[in-house]
């Protein structure tokens, strides 16, 4: 049985300014124990899909199941199986960290949960903040509490909606170390992120969404292998010749160019030299997930 099943999920928002088709026939399964990445540009429908999964929004059509439980008709069992770390940094200003976690635990019917709460506080570096009011915590600390809240009822499925947006390096390390451990212990993890290197490092399988549709769904290694395997990276201040400019990805002074094989690397360099482009810090490397992402998003301009 898959941990999460999305079956032909569609969502249409109807408002005063017209209708918006946020999701359009999204179908895929996430197997138990997977570390799964959900990627896509802003507005692709990632958060809508997660909101439907969590019961925060309702699908216009289609069905979603968590550990076999339908999120609408059997919502209590579905939500017990889910731990959601929301994207927004929200908190209840009336309570301190321990109270917050005890309350969240109680909502799920878990009694006498202090041993696990203490373990969570320790793992997330919050042990000395247990008595601190939520208002007094820094943004990074509040994010840790959100993670602890999501895990307080020991859900088998953990959903993290851009958990590292605006988070410092230390917390990222702590967080990923902890989540990776939970994954090794059998928890299923669904992650949405803007940091593609995170997805590449952590996720065994990835779905990419664009304009509410799945445009890629495969093992991370297969996605990486399926694209041009070589990337030319260099810095320059000169304009590129038009033929290359059309294929290049330019970030400030940094230019990245795809190459299929050694002959094409040579041809590219010859074209640059011929155009009088001064190349600095040249590297030839493997394509990473970001390259795959850009390529797929370009290829999916007109979804089939």
């Amino acid at each position: 049985m898959p941990a999460i099943e999305f079956h032909r999920v569609g969502k249409t928002y109807r408002g005063a300014r017209g209708t918006l088709r946020a999701l359009d026939g999204v179908s895929f399964d996430i197997e138990a124990g997977e570390f799964f990445g959900l990627l896509g540009p802003n507005g692709a429908g990632k958060t809508t899909l997660i909101s439907i999964l969590a019961g925060l929004a309702r699908a216009t059509e289609g069905t979603v199941r968590v550990m076999g439980h339908d999120v609408v008709t059997d919502f209590a069992a579905a939500r017990k199986a889910l731990g959601i770390v929301p994207q927004e940094l929200v908190f209840d200003p009336f309570f301190n960290v321990r109270e917050t976690l005890r309350i969240q635990s109680g909502y799920f019917g878990v009694r006498g949960n202090d041993a696990w709460i203490d373990e969570l506080l320790g793992e997330l570096g919050l042990a000395d903040k247990a008595g601190a009011n939520m208002r007094q915590l820094s943004g990074g600390m509040k994010r840790r509490v959100l993670v602890a809240q999501a895990l307080v009822h020991k859900p088998p499925v953990i959903v993290l909606d851009e958990p590292t947006a605006g988070v410092d390096v230390e917390l990222r390390q702590t967080l990923w170390g902890f989540i990776a451990r939970l994954n090794r212990e059998g928890h299923t993890v669904l992650l949405t992120t803007h940091y593609l290197e995170e997805a590449e490092a952590l996720c065994g399988r990835i779905a990419m969404l664009k304009q509410g549709r799945v445009v890629a769904l495969d093992r991370t290694s297969a996605l990486l292998a399926g694209t041009a395997s070589t990337m030319l990276r260099f810095k320059t201040d000169d304009p590129l010749p038009p033929a290359l400019a059309a294929q290049a990805r330019v970030t400030g002074r940094i230019v990245q160019l795809k190459a299929q094989d050694a002959a094409q690397v040579e041809a590219r360099l010859a074209a640059l030299r011929g155009a009088g482009v001064r190349v600095e810090d040249l590297e030839i490397g493997r394509a990473d997930l970001e390259d795959v992402f850009v390529e797929i998003m370009r290829g999916a301009e007109a979804p089939a």
Binding site: R58, I103, G106
Partner: protein, 253 residues
């Protein structure tokens, strides 16, 4: 429905107002005392509402009930809209708690706050004029029903309102007029016939009249009629609130 989960939400809602009890309990008690001092002082010598009952004695139960009603409303409505606006309602939305659990917890906590403030007002004002407890069961019945009804209305307002000014409008244009025009400060029998008839259409009138009956053994209308009307109003409002909660109205897109 999980009893443990419902109990947690109820305790959280009680704790929420109790942590700021200076504002949520002490302040409304002071307001009621100010009403009593001003109206009682001005009107004491001019009005005798029921035979042998002075104006201040008449006013005290009205103020107690008004405090119960307003604070029961304030509790559920302000808790819900604050959670909606700050976004922390998400912690509740992702739980297995169903609409009945939400209703019981929010309305239960509203009743606790309303009754706590009412008791506070009673304990502070009871020294100002002679009061009896002639039919005390009516006091408990109407205080509890009134608090529950207003706690439910607060939930409806909290669900409906998207901004604090909408909430203020609900409070100022619906709850305040209905409480003030219900006979808190006067007996409706002192009104011209037209306004008497209008007052009898206001369910708040029956709550306050029935509540007062418990103190004086006298009322503008039969306590049984009041009980029937207040009970029926409660049932209708509760059913409507439960329906809104079940449908996810303005909670789940």
């Amino acid at each position: 429905m999980s009893l443990q989960g419902t109990g947690t939400l109820f305790r959280k809602e009680v704790l929420r107002f109790w942590k700021v009890s200076f504002q949520t309990v002490a302040a409304p008690v002071l307001t009621a005392v100010l009403y009593l001092l001003i109206f009682g002082h001005v009107l004491e010598d001019h009005v005798e509402v029921f035979p042998g009952v002075g104006y201040t004695s008449f006013l005290i139960p009205g103020l107690v009930m008004m405090s119960v009603l307003q604070n029961a409303f304030a509790n559920s409505s302000s808790s819900l809209i604050q959670s909606k606006i700050t976004g922390n309602l998400v912690f509740l939305l992702v739980t297995p708690l169903d609409h009945r659990a939400w209703y019981l917890a929010y309305v239960g906590a509203s009743m606790v706050r309303g009754l706590a403030v009412g008791l506070g007002v009673f304990l502070v004002t009871v020294w100002f004029a002679p009061l009896h407890l002639r039919e005390p069961w009516w006091i408990f019945v109407f205080a509890a029903l009134g608090a529950g009804l207003l706690g439910s209305l607060g939930l409806i307002a909290g669900l409906w309102a998207e901004k604090f000014d909408q909430m203020a409008a609900f409070q100022n244009f619906v709850v305040m007029p209905m409480t003030f025009l219900s006979g808190v400060f006067y007996s409706v029998q002192s009104l011209p016939p037209v306004w008497q008839a209008v007052s009898h259409l206001n369910p708040f009138f029956y709550m306050i009249d029935g509540f007062r009956r418990g103190f004086f053994g006298a009322s503008d209308t039969s306590p049984w009629l009041s009980l029937a009307i207040v009970g029926a109003s409660f049932a209708v409002v509760a059913a409507f609130t439960l329906r809104l909660l079940k449908s996810g109205y303005k909670l789940r897109q």
